[in-house]
Amino acid sequence: MVDPATVERLLGSRRQLGTSSPTPLRPADAEGGCGVIGMAASVPVAGRHLLQALAQMRNRGNGKGGGIAAAGLDPVFFGTTPEVLENDYLIAVALLDPAAKAEVESEFLEPVYEIHHAAAVPGLSDFRSLPGLDVAPPAVHAYFGRVRPDVLQRFLREQQLDPREAAKAEDEIVYQTTYRLNRALYASTGEKRAFVLSHGKDLLVLKMVGYGDDVVRFYRLEDLCARVWIGHHRYPTKGRVWHPGGAHPFLGMHEALVHNGDFANYASISSYLAQRNIHPLFLTDTEVAVQVFDLLHRIYGYPLEYVIEAMAPTTERDFTLLPPEKQRIYRALQAIHIHASPDGPWFFLIAQSKTAERLYRLIGITDTSMLRPQVFALQRGRAAVGFAASERQGIDAALASLAAEDSRFWPRADLFWNARGGSHTDGGAFLFEATAADGGALVCTDKFGRRIDVDGSKRPFCSGFRPAAADPALSSAEIGLPAETVFAEASRRLPRWGYEELQSFLDGLEGRAREDAERTPVIRTLTLLLDRRVPTGGMKRSGVVWRIDETLARIFDDVRERPGPTYAWMSAESAVPEPASPEQTLVIDARGYPPEGNGSLARALVDLASRGFRRFLVAHARGHRFLGAGLGPGSEGISIDVYGSSGDYLASGLDGAEMVVHGAGQDQLAQIMKSGKLVVHGDVGQTFLYGSKGGHIYVLGNAAGRPLINAVGRPRVVINGTCLDYLAESFMAGDALQGGGFVVLNGVAFDEDGEIHDLPAPYPGGNLFSLASGGAIYARDPHRLLTEDQLNGGAFTALSSADWELIRPMLEENERLFGIPLRRLLSVDGVERPPDAVFRKIAPTGLKALMPEEAWVHKAK
């Protein structure tokens, strides 16, 4: 903590900045969500790896604002030394008017700084060479310098600051100099001439009117290496003339923040800041968010945990589950800073550099109500990389890009997870800390400092790795056996294989698949290995899966070369084949299709179904949205298998068809789904099954926030993991025992070794089955961890034999699909128990006012 007097004096020193404008009531710019991705690595990684991820998330922006931040930079890029990069402030100035450079230097920089190095950040000679760019990006000049000693001494003296606080004072001078420059040359003048992009140490921000990936291309950051990157597309909705100053990231001191969402209490936060002599200049909500962060972190000196708590408070049931000491501190934080807590949907990504500690951070914070999509990921091998993004497919794309040219990475992350906003479990925030010391390291922790890590005993894909007791790969005769047999045998031997044996087995399968008729069992075998969480011994699951991905990709590509009666192939560029028979599977290479619109893959599927195709295999999906939507009612008999990174709204409106996602789903899956079947071999994102009316749905992993909200009719769902919160809010699906809908919530997960274990709680959220009037939840809760206070309108009831007969067939199908044995679900601490000792039913309380009209209608009947 910082000495209160120092805080007082630092904030007091800002009075001399003055303020020309009253506290704004609302932001000048309006914008909604955006596309964001952050990446932190134990080794420097190049900017080009953001390109594909940002390109695939372009539909989250509108080309009117894009930006990047990078921390832990390469001095060579600027033509300077590591010492200068580490010790000096890097002041990057956007010169919208190149003639402003002289004024920037003489009026603002030279009187304050000793400039040790200056360099232009070169841009492309002609911005029009980037299609779609219609505003010239600013020329950017980077200055490396320190505050002049006399300026620093004068500041210390005038503000009566302890000389031991010189470092804090220097930061503050830099901050105020930037403020003066921005106010004079950007905010208050009619013509916008120049502004400071960034001023932290070893931190660079670049932004412009365009998409985030345009920033990388225009400023030639493809080859710039950094340890932390964030990229952003913006979707501003006001202003015919856009300026780069409104784009993200926004600047704190040694950190830059990007934001997805918006909040309602801009005026409140602005007046909170105004009371502390902090006044916004760019008038966007993102700007005040980063000012709050800077105030709490730098001026008040709060540890990050408290900064996060002040911004995204722990509330409701989660608060009561905190340890008493934390409750005491958090209560005080909330009392003082609640007006600075952004209220609304938001997800912040922050890139921060701490050069004194040679530390670079990526911080992802989600709002308390978890209203924005967010996903985190980690991969650790010879190097480590962590991600936070608005879409999982963006992470997949960045990893694929890294892996394509750097053998330390591979295209599959070890871990993917969502943050539970404002929770007692993870605090809704995760920090990736990359350090440069000792060749580099990356540590991931949650808000409370708990480590998130992968199983260190597992090996990533590499040659020469031999397990202690090796097993030979399957012989060619064995590979010719039925798919289930081959799968069973391979998964039995897999724990004692090295990557050589695995590869030899996969190559054998690939050879068998060169016969068109043999493709089905081979693809089935590989898909089982991909989908099932089988033990992988000394190998990392992500490494094994990667090898399977590659084999499958080659088999799918082979269909293109040699189609047959069983498998046909097409892509966005190829001619549309005629179905040889209704049993023929059409392999569609998704890569050439746009993610949405008339030429989208989703529309192509509708068209192909009308031409008589019934079986589809979507290969190489890259966030393609709406797959399965538009098939209309009566689509029974159509099956769609999706491989790769599937996109939002998959299976929405599905009414008869069957879809299988061989991997995780994204957000808004199966909206208004009516009938048919959906199987997801992984997690699903936000508002899963919103307004759904029916169907059979199986999810291997977790659902994020608000699954089944407003669902009616008869959806029947098995979720093997859990949900973040708000499961089955306003559920109206009749009486489960009379044909209505229900959710079976198993609360289990697989570990790296393929072992099923119980989650700490079947459901961590404070809102379960709220306001529900129909349907039921069958929660696997043998230890009775769910409590009344999680319910609002539902009640625990005993599981009847009729209930068990209802859910048992679903759980048997669940066993077939995911290899989660029914007997294992009934086992508690290794002992099999009767169903009613394991599952609890949550049903509507049935408390409703019987209206006179109801009685009247009953009588009339």
């Binding site: 596309g35 539909n59 979707y235 008339n598 509708v606 009616v712 009037s773």
Partner: protein, 439 residues
């Protein structure tokens, strides 16, 4: 509200008479002007005048006020600067009331011959008979009506070319086929009468048939959340539109929002997301089922919101690419004209249509057997009070009266097309309370 017993008896008599024999029998009521309910915005005179128009297809000519109410603000203070008689267009001059509903330059062209269509009222909030009556009138006038959020009764399918499918936050009754049937899809983000409160259908209106249509539990109050939980931002909104366009690529997209302070930003956001129609719903709409505390107290009056959005879209240079429709307090033909002069392309009607079919604004809409006229009810008995054909005829007559008044008004202003009136605030007068006025 008048409650003494004599008036009450008269009301009952009047409605029985009115509903079954029309208004031809008025003189027999013997008290001169028949009694009506009403409030300063929807005055007794306006209610009676709307009934008369629904009966006679023209504006009353006997002095009954049919243009404005007595609210003392908004539309009620506005008037038109009509030209002197000699400068007006001749009474026989043809004027064009048609407006386009797609000005984007992509997707198909849709034009309606009158500058209005019917707003969303769900099966549940009103009866199937009322929905049918509205659909029949929409078909006759080649305009539209909207399903509201309660499903798409199969009887409406015969009119599907004139029925907008509404997709609202509860997604009740929204299925792929109801999206595919619709020429226009309407996303209802909020309703001006109760912004931020979502939708409610109290248990007694959620009858067996209503619940079957919505696939919910009968006799349980239904709640449509606010907002769409899948849409917390404009980029989600774009994704939402992209989704339904995947299901029905031919449909036009209408985005219905209430009128918060930043309604102008919402408008631009919708434009960028690809909407064809922006529907702004002011705070004076809603049936009696909307909470009293919310109505008129949260959303901005539509008279303020229209010019705000219109001008902002002009500044952004996109006004001529999006159709701006206004609702929530549009009661009369003159209100429609004023809304257009303030900057809307056209209007969306709700309450005035119910009034045409006999509504007295008694505010008894939320109960299953509350509506004495069989309008805002799904009770099997009460619903029978309104026959669809009868209701359609009433609406058609009202439309004819509106069309006639708008044509006369345009001639009086020397305009040949309703499209020329848009944004012509220079043709409006603001009348002071003292009877004076300034332009």
């Amino acid at each position: 509200m008048t409650t003494d017993s004599t008036t009450f008896d008269l009301l009952v008599r009047k409605h029985r008479e009115a509903l079954h024999y029309g208004f031809h029998t008025w003189p027999t009521l013997a008290l001169g002007m028949p009694p009506a309910l009403g409030d300063p915005r929807w005055t007794d005179e306006l209610i009676l005048a709307t009934w008369r128009q629904a009966e006679e297809s023209r504006a009353p000519a006997d002095g009954l006020e049919f243009r404005v109410g007595r609210s003392g603000g908004g539309f009620d203070r506005l008037d038109f600067k009509t030209l002197p008689a000699e400068s007006r267009l001749q009474a026989t001059a043809l004027v064009d009331l048609a407006i386009p509903l797609n000005r984007r330059g992509f997707d198909r062209e849709v034009e309606i011959p009158v500058p209005w269509y019917g707003g969303g009222m769900s099966y549940g909030s009103v009866s199937e008979q009322i929905m049918l009556a509205r659909a029949m009138a929409a078909k006759e006038w080649r305009t539209f009506t909207s399903t509201g959020e309660g499903g798409y009764p199969p009887s409406l399918a015969a009119y599907s070319d004139h029925v907008i499918t509404q997709i609202a936050t509860g997604m009740f009754g929204v299925r792929e086929e109801t999206i595919q049937w619709a020429p226009i899809l309407e996303f209802k983000y909020a309703q001006g009468a109760k912004p931020g409160l979502g939708g409610h259908l109290l248990g007694s209106k959620s009858t067996m048939t209503v619940a079957r249509m919505r696939e919910s539990v009968p006799w349980v109050s239904l709640f449509s959340p606010f907002p769409f939980h899948s849409v917390y931002s404009v980029e989600d909104h774009k994704k939402h539109i992209d989704w339904v366009k995947t299901v029905n690529p031919a449909a036009l997209i209408s985005v219905k929002v209430s009128t918060p302070n930043d309604v102008d930003m919402v408008a631009v956001g919708s434009y960028y997301a690809g909407a064809h129609i922006l529907h702004i719903d002011g705070g004076y709409g809603g049936t009696g089922a909307a909470p009293q505390i919310a109505k008129k107290n949260i959303a901005m009056p539509i008279e303020l919101a229209i010019p705000k959005v219109h001008r902002f879209l002009q500044q952004e240079g996109i006004r001529d690419e999006i159709v701006l429709m206004a609702s929530g307090g549009v009661r009369t033909a003159y209100d429609i004209a004023k809304a257009i002069a303030l900057g809307a392309d056209g209007c969306i009607l709700g309450t005035s249509e119910l009034v045409a079919m006999g509504c007295t604004r008694c505010s008894n809409c939320e109960r299953g057997r509350g509506c004495p006229f069989g309008l805002t009810t799904t009770d099997p008995e009460l619903s029978e009070l309104v026959q669809p054909e009868w209701g359609a005829q009433r609406l058609s007559n009202l439309y004819r009266s509106y069309a006639g008044q708008l044509s006369d008004l345009l001639r009086g202003l020397g305009l040949k097309s309703i499209r020329e009136l848009r944004g012509r605030t220079d043709l409006l007068l603001y009348r002071n309370g003292d009877g004076g006025s300034h332009g």
